[in-house]
């Protein structure tokens, strides 16, 4: 058991309790789809000659997503508008979906080729594939 530094710190105790509850849920992996990291959720993978990034960003237009790669840092930004009406006639019962501007940055290895990037948006998932630099791949040198 880890107790708070100040035993009468109510907020500290609440914080600790919340973390413990959170850990219980973490046993079954990420039951809450987008609890960590914010919007969009990111999955990252690597193959021998590329880095693969998947951003789970549903409900956008492909041309409204900004993707930049600069010195191995990939940045994904844009805005998702609320689909909920603002007039007073409708009532909003549940409001869990993300709305507003988003910006996520991820640092990748520095052997990536900025000229070899492809980004595809399909079924609400942005897939960015970045080729590794030709210079960092093994090659044969001819002797003349």
């Amino acid at each position: 058991m880890d107790y708070s530094l100040f035993p009468r710190d109510v907020f500290g105790e609440l914080d600790r309790l919340q973390r413990q509850v959170h850990q219980v849920f973490e046993l079954s992996p990420s039951i809450r789809g987008f609890a960590r990291g914010g919007f969009p959720a990111l999955n990252v993978g690597a193959t021998g000659n590329s880095a693969e990034i998947y951003a789970f960003a549903p409900g956008l237009e492909a041309d409204s997503i900004n993707v930049t790669l600069e010195r191995g840092v990939l940045s994904i930004s844009g805005e998702r508008r609320a689909g909920t009406p603002a007039d007073g006639k409708a009532s909003l019962h549940i409001n869990e979906r993300f709305a507003g501007r988003f910006h996520r940055v991820i640092t990748l290895s520095d052997d990536l080729d900025p000229g070899g990037v492809t980004a595809r948006y399909n079924n609400g998932v942005l897939h960015v594939s970045i080729r590794r630099n030709a210079a960092s791949q093994p090659r044969r040198i001819n002797v003349t």
């Binding site: 992996p29 039951i31 193959t47 549903p58 409900g59 006639k89 549940i94 979906r97």
Partner: protein, 116 residues
Amino acid sequence: MNERTDLPSLLPPVDVIEDASGITLYADLPGVSKDRLNLEVSGDTLIIEGEMDLSVPDGMDGTHAEVGLPRYRRVFTLSKELDTGKLDAEMKQGVLKLHIQRAEHAKPRRIAVQGG
């Protein structure tokens, strides 16, 4: 269906809006195509299920994952004044839009008063 319901799945975030015409539900299901979405209404229960279909290159090693499961599932209990026969569903870029109309008997109506 039963073996699929036992599988661990993600709980998709939703928005639910109600107006005079009925209820509109939006659910975030990124990675799910129209073909892999399963909507089921039985009695007053609505089940939303979807399987992700990501084209992952051969031999890829995952290094970081915030989405750890390939499927979504969420169950709602509908109320009696909704007409489950009048249900429209649309899937666009990973967002499900589902509209359920209010049953005719539950719509607000004006009652004519007869004079003698």
